[in-house]
C-alpha cells in the first residue's frame, strides 16, 4: 500500500499480483494449515515491508509464529473472501483492506467478530475510528490519514485554505487530483459543500466546476510529485500521509486540512470467518496495534496511529500532528458502499472523460 493502492489506478505490478494472488490460493490454504503460521493478505511495497519490520519480525517471530504474506490488490482479496465463503477453511487468516471494503465484507457476513479479550489493544482505538458495529468489532483499523490540500511552500505563500478556495481563478489550471481517488474526492467535496460525505449532488456540482477550471488528473499518487516540481500544478487534493512521505524524500510539499473538514481514509485488517488459525489472527491483530509498531508506521508512511497510546514525538509529531480544531470525518460506510459503483461511474464519465 506504499502508494495507497486502493485509491490509485493499477500498476503493472499490482495487476500481476492479482493473478499471482489468485493462483497461489490453493498453496496458501496448505500453508495456513501448518501450526503457528499466520497468512496475511496484504498490499505489497512499503506496507508489506513495514508489516514485516514492525510486526512480523520484532513481535511475532520471537513468539514462534511465522507470518506468510499473500501480496495482492484489494479487489482480488475481497473476491477471494467471497469465493471462499462456502469453504470450512479459507486461505487467509488476516486480510488487509480499506474500511469501505471492510464494511462490504462485514455486510456479506464474511468476517469474524473480534473478541476484545483476545485483542487487548483494541480498547486503545481512538474514538474517531469507531463506526457502527463493524469498526473495530469486525474491522480493526490499523492506520489512517486525512484528505487534505497539498501545496509547494516554496512557490505558494498563500495556499487555499478550503475546498471553496480551489475555485478561485488564481488556481485555475493549477489544481491536481488522483484519478483513482474519485470516490474519496467526491466524499471530501460532499462534506465541504453539502455538510455530509453523502451530499452527492453538492459534490457533483462542485467537482464539475473544478474540472471545468482545468483540473489535472494523475493516474498514480507519485505522478503528482513531478507535477508539483514542473509547475504543472501548485495545489493538490491528496492524503496528507503522502505529503509526509514526500517531505521525508526532501520534496518540498506541505499539507493542510481544509476549513470545511476532511474525510479520512482508514486501512485495517479483518479476520475471515473461515480463517484457518484464528488464534494466530488474534495475535497478529493485537500486534499491529502495539504503540511501537504504530509509531514506526507513522514515521515511515506518514499515516496516523489508530490507538491513543502511540504518542508521536519529535519530527514525526511536527509533521503529522493535525490542528486541534481540524474536523475529521469518517465515511458513511453503508451509504458509500451502496453508492460506490454509481459514483465511480459518474466520476469516470463526467470528470475523467471530460477534458
Amino acid at each position: 500500500m506504499g502508494t495507497n493502492r486502493l485509491t490509485t489506478l493499477p500498476s503493472r505490478r499490482s495487476v500481476l499480483a492479482v493473478g499471482g494472488a489468485l493462483a497461489a490460493t490453493p498453496l496458501l490454504g496448505h500453508v495456513a494449515r501448518a501450526e503457528d503460521r499466520c497468512v496475511v493478505g496484504t498490499w505489497g511495497g512499503d506496507y508489506a515491508r513495514l508489516l514485516r519490520e514492525n510486526i512480523d519480525d520484532p513481535i511475532l517471530k520471537p513468539k514462534g509464529m511465522e507470518v506468510v504474506q499473500a501480496v495482492g490488490d484489494e479487489a482480488p482479496r475481497l473476491a477471494q473472501l467471497v469465493a471462499q465463503k462456502p469453504l470450512p477453511r479459507g486461505a487467509l487468516d488476516i486480510a488487509c483492506v480499506g474500511a469501505t471494503t471492510g464494511y462490504v465484507a462485514a455486510d456479506k457476513d464474511l468476517l469474524e467478530t473480534i473478541d476484545p479479550a483476545k485483542v487487548p489493544n483494541l480498547k486503545n482505538i481512538i474514538p474517531l475510528l469507531h463506526s457502527g458495529n463493524f469498526m473495530p468489532d469486525k474491522f480493526v483499523p490499523h492506520i489512517y490519514s486525512a484528505q487534505g490540500i497539498a501545496y509547494n511552500p516554496t512557490t505558494v505563500k498563500d495556499p487555499p485554505q478550503s475546498w471553496s478556495d480551489l475555485l478561485d481563478p488564481r488556481w485555475k489550471g493549477k489544481v491536481g487530483a488522483l484519478a483513482g481517488s474519485g470516490m474519496w474526492i467526491m466524499q471530501g467535496a460532499a462534506l465541504a459543500k453539502g455538510g455530509s460525505p453523502t451530499a452527492w449532488d453538492a459534490a457533483k456540482d462542485f467537482l464539475t466546476k473544478l474540472n471545468d477550471q482545468g483540473l489535472h488528473l494523475y493516474a498514480q499518487t507519485d505522478d503528482m510529485a513531478p507535477g508539483f516540481k514542473s509547475g504543472e500544478i501548485e495545489v493538490g487534493i491528496i492524503w496528507l500521509a503522502r505529503t509526509v512521505m514526500w517531505q521525508n524524500a526532501d520534496f518540498p510539499v506541505a499539507g493542510l486540512v481544509p476549513k470545511e473538514g476532511a474525510i479520512v481514509y482508514v486501512s485495517g485488517m479483518v479476520m475471515p470467518k473461515n480463517a484457518p488459525d484464528k488464534d494466530a489472527a488474534y495475535a497478529y491483530m493485537n500486534a499491529l496495534l502495539e504503540p511501537a509498531a504504530q509509531q514506526d508506521f507513522a514515521a515511515h508512511m506518514g499515516y496516523l496511529p489508530t490507538v491513543g497510546n502511540a504518542q508521536l514525538t519529535g519530527k514525526v509529531a511536527e509533521q503529522l500532528t493535525l490542528p486541534a480544531d481540524a474536523k475529521l470525518v469518517q465515511s458513511d460506510y453503508p451509504e458509500a458502499a451502496k453508492m460506490q459503483a454509481e459514483m465511480n461511474d459518474w466520476w469516470l464519465k463526467n470528470i475523467m472523460r471530460k477534458t
Partner: protein
C-alpha cells in the same frame, strides 16, 4: 489383399492413436485453462450486479444492454479500434520495408540487425513505457529539447492518444518485422531478378511480385499487431493518462473499483468478440488469392 488391407487399417489406427496421443494433452490443457474459464466468465456476464451483494445469480442481458446503449462505452470501444487500426497501419508501413531489407540483406551484420530489432523486447513493456513517460512528460526530455531548439514551452505529448499509439507501435513493431522477415525470406529472390530482367524497377517488382506473394504473411502480421493493439493495457494506462480510456484498462477499472464482475466480464467479451469480428472482416475483404491457405 485382405492382409494388406488389414495392415493398412492397423497403420491408420496407429496413426490416429498417435495423433490423439499428441494432441490430447494440449487439448485438455487448453480446455481446462481457457475454455472452461471463458464459459464461467460468460455465465458471470448474465448475472446481476448489486452494490451490497456484488454478484447475484440471474439470467439477464442487462449488462450487455448497458454497454451497447451507453455512448460512453461505445466511444471507448471506438477509441480502442481506432488506436489498434492506426497502430497496425503504422507497423505495416514501417515494418514491411524494414523486414524486406533485412530478408534480402547479405551483410555479415544481419544477425546483429535482427538482434537490435529484438533487443527492445528483452526489456519489459512497462519499463520501456516508463522511458516513454519520461520522454513525453510535461517538462520532460522532448519538452526540454523543443524549448532549446524552437522556444516552444511544451509539445504536450503526455497523456495523449498519439503518445499511446507511439508506445504500442514501439512494442508491436519488432513482432511485425520478425513475422514479415520470415515471410520475405520464403520468397525466392530469383523472382525479383526475373522481374528486373523484364524491365521492372525495384519498386514495381516489389509491388507487383513480392508483395502479392507476401500478402498472406502480411495479413498474419497485421492480425497479430491488431490484436495486440486492441488488448493493450499497460501502455494506454501509463501513456494515455487517466482521461484516456481503452477497453482493457476500463475492464480492470470496473473490476477493481466497483467489484462489478458481470459488467467487467461483458467488457472482456465485447473486446474479445470485436477483435475477432474485425479480424475476420479484414480477412473477408482481402481477395481470396492473397489469403493464407
Amino acid at each position: 489383399m485382405t492382409t494388406a488391407a488389414g495392415l493398412e487399417r492397423l497403420a491408420q489406427r496407429r496413426e490416429a492413436l498417435s495423433a490423439a496421443f499428441l494432441l490430447g494433452p494440449a487439448t485438455v490443457f487448453v480446455c481446462l485453462t481457457m475454455v472452461a474459464p471463458l464459459l464461467l466468465l460468460a455465465r458471470y456476464t448474465l448475472n446481476r450486479f448489486d452494490p451490497a451483494e456484488l454478484m447475484v445469480a440471474a439470467w439477464t442481458a442487462q449488462n450487455y444492454a448497458r454497454f451497447f446503449t451507453d455512448p460512453f462505452y461505445l466511444a471507448v470501444l471506438l477509441t480502442t479500434v481506432r488506436v489498434a487500426v492506426v497502430v497496425t497501419a503504422a507497423c505495416l508501413v514501417m515494418g514491411i520495408p524494414m523486414a524486406w531489407r533485412l530478408a534480402r540483406s547479405e551483410s555479415r551484420w544481419k544477425s546483429a540487425y535482427v538482434m537490435a530489432m529484438v533487443l527492445p523486447l528483452v526489456i519489459g513493456a512497462t519499463t520501456r513505457t516508463a522511458g516513454w513517460m519520461i520522454l513525453f512528460s510535461h517538462g520532460g526530455m522532448i519538452d526540454i529539447a523543443t524549448r532549446a531548439l524552437f522556444g516552444v514551452s511544451s509539445v504536450g505529448l503526455a497523456n495523449t492518444e498519439l503518445a499511446v499509439i507511439i508506445g504500442i507501435v514501439s512494442i508491436n513493431l519488432p513482432f511485425t518485422v520478425l513475422t514479415l522477415q520470415a515471410v520475405f525470406e520464403g520468397i525466392d529472390p530469383r523472382l525479383e531478378e526475373a522481374a528486373a530482367s523484364m524491365g521492372a524497377a525495384p519498386a514495381r517488382s516489389f509491388q507487383r511480385v513480392v508483395l502479392p506473394l507476401a500478402m498472406p504473411g502480411v495479413l498474419i502480421a497485421a492480425v497479430l499487431c491488431f490484436i495486440l493493439g486492441m488488448n493493450a493495457f499497460a501502455t494506454p494506462l501509463l501513456l494515455g493518462g487517466p482521461r484516456f480510456q481503452m477497453m482493457a484498462p476500463l475492464l480492470y477499472w470496473e473490476f477493481s473499483s466497483n467489484n462489478n464482475w458481470p459488467f467487467a466480464g461483458v467488457l472482456a467479451f465485447v473486446l474479445m468478440a470485436s477483435s475477432l469480428a474485425l479480424t475476420l472482416a479484414a480477412g473477408a475483404v482481402i481477395p481470396r488469392r492473397y489469403r493464407a491457405r
